[in-house]
Symmetry: C2
Subunit: 418 residues, 2 copies
């Protein structure tokens, strides 16, 4: 029997060979394979649901939280959503082959930058089995091979899904090794994956802060960091308070467990008295627990005192930190100090305040008069999303197909030498 | 006395604060500071040369190689070149603030991507003191703060140069902490630098393969990998042999110690007999040592047999591996197997071979009928260069000012919620 390390290395090597073939496929060839995969997924729905039931049984036996059980659960409808997701990706424009720019240099060389696939993309994720389909579809469409490593809780579901995808690829021009699942749930499998520099071109961890930190710190392969969002909404002195109320409630309550939800509300002192008591009541009605600075506490008796940790926290829950600030500058300083550079919003009617906020806040997405919840590939019109990058290299903010590619310089000469 | 670790952390923190200010400077403010720095550098030329003499004395006492001594040596002319380099960077267009793209989404939000600085850039380099000036100038022009960590051999030169730059910045709008040199030559300084995630946004190592590997493997900050080039020239059956000869000699001999020099020559078997004996003689005349495959050895008696390692090697010297191949496919396979994805060239008159080579070779720069030596920011018309990236994330190939920036999404709303 071969070791887990050797198994992962072999998979990475096979993926690299498949990536060379993937890079040369036409859009039609890739789309035909995605359609065949969609059909295979639909056909295999009973097997996938049976495997998922098995995963759920183990998860319940282990006493996993209901939030995790929810993320893990598939239904006929969720499988159909995955099938539709595959078809939607097939319908997106192919980023590969685009000449980003081309020019002539004094030596007479014609230089161009052409968009090409990244090569082999590794995805390390947690309990959501739908990531197996979404990530595979996006990687393939962008001409990459993909190695998937899902959480152990979803292993049976992921195996059944991967089997269906590979079955779908049979008879198409997508090589079977272009989509590979790492089936071992041993920790050494992930560790080995993070060491395959030269075989895997990029790793994208998708999941909680702990997973992302582990990958960032241990990978020798370039990583795209995704996810952590300590997002703020700042209500300026010139803000429309009715709009502020609507945005704050949406940013906190519409889906509190995601990275673009608001975690801290900053309010200019001149509007705090008018805004906070009523807004706090509406938030508390929706089950939101408030943690306030001293000035907030004076206006909102139901709030608890905020500790220093609260300004750093990504609650991902119906909890909100609230701080009254003296000025736009104080709001900007607070965001620079505690923000995670994900999504930040100002509510204001003042032209100069809007301009300063847009210019001075260093974050993947900066909003004037809109909810932070819009930071999303679909909402931004990118067509699909491979997570939200919170790093500055390569991709920043929602990642679409283009972020799963790189460029190369191509140079046409007539015998030039230096 | 504070520890080295604490000192580096304080420098990184000060750089982060300076970066916030740098991001808001206008092109005029940055250019004025670069001009003032150029003047200060020129004024401090005697001090810089005296410090350099001290470094050279120590280096000679340690018995360092003549190649290293050459890289370390400054002269009045080399200082003037650095001064001119600063002015050239001031003259380049400012990448910051460019709206890369803007569009409206169905919710009515107006979404745009704006080019912004990276933040704090860390440069880890070896003996060349001119990197201190070049890297600082490019980083500042792109609106970043920069932390420089040069090799211990150049410490006195680097200190004198950094002092001159900081003196130049005085009285301009560039904060003094925007350019910082790590003066400690203790290894813990670099180790600490590589751990400043959240304070330093990106690390760029510039130097030999060992340095780059160390940074790639140990940094928890995103790294841009630069440099290693195992570059090939492939002479196709339809190639113009006179052109092939000129390109091969240029790619190997014009500057053998750099990353875009050719390390392996691949020759189609149908032209090997006509090309190789004469070309080998011309290369050997120029002091090139040849290491050939068996078919090469039969045509070039002066060559030594190539070992498997030779195909992997980046000689950075007057040594060349030579292999006769049966077809374009065999050449493509060889490059895919042994190449470092830096610069690859084909010499051919065949349209289809040129197209296949451009399309199928996975490298930062792919050439038809030109020397690999052109892979360079200046030669590609990028105006300046911060090294050549051999990774696929963020930057690939020669990095100009644009590669020292990132983008952020800015979103204009009218109260939109989800």
């Amino acid at each position: 029997m071969i070791s887990i390390e050797e198994q992962v290395r072999r998979q990475a090597k096979a993926a690299q060979a498949a990536a060379r073939k993937m890079a040369l496929l036409s859009s039609e060839q890739k789309n035909a394979a995605l359609e065949a995969m969609a059909q295979a997924l639909e056909r295999n729905s009973p097997q996938i649901l049976a495997a998922n039931a098995q995963d759920l049984k183990c998860a319940r036996a282990k006493g996993l939280s209901s939030a995790l059980l929810d993320r893990l659960t598939l239904s006929e409808q969720r499988v159909l959503d995955m099938v539709e997701g595959l078809r939607a990706v097939a319908g997106l424009p192919d980023p590969v082959g685009e000449v980003v720019r081309a020019w002539r240099v004094p030596s007479g060389l014609e230089v161009g930058r052409v968009r090409v696939p990244l090569g082999v993309v590794g995805i390390i994720y947690e309990a959501r089995p739908n990531v197996t389909v979404d990530a595979a579809a996006l990687c393939l469409k962008a001409g990459n091979a993909v190695i998937l490593k899902g959480g152990s809780e979803a292993i049976d579901s992921n195996k059944a899904i991967a089997r269906a995808l590979i079955q779908g690829a049979e008879g198409t021009d997508v090589p079977p090794e272009a989509v590979q699942l790492i089936e071992s749930t041993d920790r050494r499998a992930v560790a080995t994956m993070m060491e395959q520099r030269g075989l895997i071109d990029v790793l994208i961890p998708r999941g909680g802060a702990g997973l992302i930190r582990t990958v960032m710190e241990n990978s020798t392969i370039p990583v795209i960091e995704t996810g952590v969002g300590n997002c703020h909404v700042y209500v300026d002195v010139h803000g429309d308070l009715e709009m502020a109320r609507r945005i704050a409630i949406n940013a906190k309550c519409q889906r509190p467990g995601v990275c673009n939800a608001m975690e801290t509300l900053l309010v200019h002192r001149e509007v705090a008295e008018e805004l906070l008591p009523a807004l706090a009541a509406q938030l508390m009605e929706r089950g939101v627990q408030l943690r306030g600075c001293p000035r907030t506490l004076a206006l909102v008796p139901g709030a608890q005192p905020a500790q220093e940790e609260d300004w750093h926290e990504e609650y991902l829950d119906l909890v909100l930190a609230v701080r009254v600030v003296d000025s736009l500058d104080e709001a900007l300083d607070h965001i620079a100090r505690y923000g995670s550079k994900h999504s930040e919003a100002i509510v204001t009617g003042d032209y100069h305040a809007a301009r300063r906020f847009l210019r001075e806040v260093d974050a993947a997405a900066v909003y004037v008069n809109a909810s932070t919840r819009f930071t999303d590939g679909g909402q931004f019109g990118l067509g699909a999303e491979m997570g939200i990058s919170t790093q500055k290299l390569h991709a920043r903010g929602p990642m679409g197909l283009e972020e799963l590619t790189t460029t190369k310089f191509i140079v046409y000469g007539e015998g030039q030498v230096r």
